[in-house]
Point group: C2
Chain length 459, copies 2
């Protein structure tokens, strides 16, 4: 029996156990942004580390950081073979609004072949694919066809400061030929995809102050500045009704996609009606006129408000002129936009447009550039072949509108390209309620990564 | 010893007890908008009723309603004398934001001669003035110089629906010649004031819906409508940067103050610098150009946002395109503006200006017109004389930018004018943190109401 067949048999025999283990990981509410979940992050890290050891990895360590631990592990005995650095994150987004979940976010529940849980697709289910692929190869062969390093973090959803510092301080230890990340989606069910572009992101908190304290709107209404309205005025100036960001210089350096890439997007299966009705679920789409949905979400920068608060928001009525208001805003960046240059442009714009009587304080949270990799890169080519073989369909090259800052850091610090082999689906509801992950993609994903790793063995 | 002197002696002798009783009332957290405080509302109502009985009132009853109880009491044995209906409210605004209070909102604390507590000035301290004035007169004289009815409610801060219904159903029982309300402020310390005009108010909750659920801003940013941004766009359109409401027809029916009244305002002591620095505490005032602060806050309608919420507002970052957002908005109305006509104008404006892909639902909460009383009314004249005598300073006629809907209802249902004899001060922080009430005004207020009531005795 060939390795390939043995591997298939191993995956079949252990299918239920792999799923049970994943569910165990999904039950840990490792919400990195909420301080009260710090112990859950540690639990999740220990769980992942223990599974790396089971998979045959060596030098496995849970590495404490200023915030949430990193996990490292390696297997470096395939002389002459390339080294792949597998990255994933065990932290998840908050589950709120809880009342919109059909089953509890941290109690994985199967419906229609998918597991519903916070982190199912982003990224626990996908990082677990890497671990189980290595376990299968190691169990069947007694070794691995390539050199492997794992670096897994618990701060992806909160800016990833610790991994950045670790990366900068451990360049030699982390040396590799390419990185592998499974934290994105396939373009459509059954259509294997490789993301060759990611948007970058600037994330900020804006706090508006008006009067020294909340004032009675009867007594002071008409004369006192209102922090909520001041913030509303400023935010409304940031983007036109048709979605064009109004910050001067915002689009100056935007590099449009090459004609060939744009044409390939036009060949992808896409129904705007289906997208509107079944994915977005609103009465109309929005965004810059003259650009397709793919261009708007993959190749155009955006300005969004993620949350806003201020004044009295309890039940009933309270007639205050609020003293404070705040908003969380982000800008998604595309290739060739310089985050540092934009930070300055934002600061100027806010200073120039702050309403009378209002003070705005900007709290800078993250800033990372967009990243692109060439479809001709040999790792991309081999990954595409492995996916095509596994799924029995031609792999397509897409981009992802989301941001995975680590991809830029791998390029900058380690000089390596990243293979973004995503097994999620567009309707997985990442960051929203009822996040899910198709269990068939979990199994196919393990097989695809096995195939990819085998294809990297020296001839 | 004359009644007047006996009354003074009684007030002096009972000063500490009156204050202790008021503090007991202030300790009851009768926040009418929060359902969990319903038992506190009942406790406060029973407390007030018991003190009405002590004061010598008859037929005292705590009247159950759909929400919070009303309290009634009367003394009707002064034949040939007029009847005054005393109104007050024992409910209070929520105390949030709690962290801004220097002492706990429901633990009355004296600092610099004022008692700090939620409801100290609005309206527990002021309604208690009426009760103690009646008690003093009744204790000293064995009767009262006029006929008195009390009607006290627990829903003033949440729309006063129960009292409206009660008023409409009990016109005969409540028949009177004038109403007396102490729920406003003196224009300045030591300067007795009668408010002869109040603004009306429309209060609404606006809810914006965008996508069917929160979406990942990386995946959908650039194509999916954002409920928070949609609401921000709509709100920003409601008012210009210089405070002019943009709803068509909003100012059409506004009746400006008479030249004489406007001129009298110009003679009032007012420092815009002091107002800006010590009352508002912001870097600049706002509001319609060409109108003085008094005109803007007393005689011009306003549009305000009292609270806003939506999306992710916890600590840290979450990159969602929010599905929902909401705001609490109000418009203060001035004489001759018709709330019903404005409600229709608002509805049209919102429909015409709702951003693409967003739905807005308006929840109508209150609508009451502005109200005015003539300074030549005999009750106003006698009240002015009593205040002038008590404080040793000429009473001024002012307006109040706030809204006391019951004043309009007393006029409409009972055909009576209202004397607004306020003992608060402009910096009492009504509805805000650190609400206070000057204890000297509490004592002087009781004396002034005693004097007013005595001046109404038949010659």
């Amino acid at each position: 029996m060939s390795d390939r067949n043995s591997c298939d048999a191993y995956l079949s025999a252990n299918k239920q156990r792999f799923q049970d283990e994943l569910f165990e990981l999904l039950r840990i509410p490792s919400v990195s942004t909420l301080p009260e979940h710090a112990p859950d992050l540690c639990r999740a890290a220990e769980f992942v580390a223990s599974k790396l050891r089971v998979a045959g990895l060596e030098n496995v360590a849970v590495i404490p950081t200023d915030k949430h631990p990193l996990i490292y592990g390696d297997w470096l005995h395939a002389s002459g073979a390339p080294t792949v650095l597998c990255y994933g994150h065990y932290d998840v987004q908050p589950a709120e609004p809880l009342e919109e979940w059909k089953s509890p976010p941290f109690e994985p529940t199967i419906r229609d072949g998918s597991v519903y849980a916070r982190g199912a697709a982003d990224d626990k289910g996908q990082l677990y694919i890497h671990i189980k692929a290595v376990e299968a190869l190691h169990a069947v062969r007694g070794d691995l066809p390539l050199n492997i390093k794992f670096l897994i973090e618990g701060e992806e959803e909160v800016g990833g400061e610790s991994i950045s510092a670790y990366l900068a301080a451990n360049r030699e230890k982390l040396e590799a030929d390419a990185a592998l990340i499974s934290d994105t989606s396939m373009y459509a069910p059954g259509l294997p995809s490789l993301d060759i572009g990611l948007r970058g992101m600037i994330y900020q908190e804006w706090e508006a102050s008006g009067p020294a304290q909340d004032l009675h709107s009867g007594m002071y209404g008409g004369a006192a500045p209102n922090a909520v309205f001041g913030l509303v005025e400023l935010l409304a100036k940031c983007k036109s009704a048709d979605g064009v960001c109004q910050i001067p210089g915002f689009y100056d350096d935007v590099e449009p996609p090459a004609r060939e890439e744009k044409e390939s997007w036009e060949r992808l299966p896409f129904s705007e009606t289906d997208y509107l009705e079944n994915e977005v679920g609103s009465s109309r789409l929005t965004g810059e006129p003259g650009y397709s949905v793919m261009e708007r979400t993959w190749a155009r920068p955006t300005f969004e408000v993620h949350g806003i608060g201020g004044g009295f928001t309890g039940p009933g009525a309270k007639t205050v002129i609020p003293a404070k208001a705040y908003a969380k805003v982000s800008m998604r960046l595309v290739p060739n936009q310089d985050p540092q240059k934009l930070l300055e442009a934002i600061e100027r714009f806010v200073a120039d447009n702050t309403p009378a009587g209002i003070r705005i304080r900007i709290r800078q949270m993250y800033a990372s550039p967009a990243s692109m990799v060439s479809p001709d890169n040999p790792f991309i080519q081999k990954a595409a072949a492995a996916l095509t073989e596994t799924f029995g369909a031609q792999t397509v090259f897409t981009r992802c509108g989301g941001s995975i800052p680590i991809v830029g850091e791998f390029l900058e610090e380690l000089g390596i390209p990243t293979v973004l082999m995503g097994f999620g689906l567009p309707d997985d509801s990442l960051h929203g309620p009822n996040e899910k992950f198709l269990l068939e993609n979990f199994q196919m994903g393990i097989r695809a990564v096995v195939n990819f790793f085998e294809s990297l063995a020296p001839a």
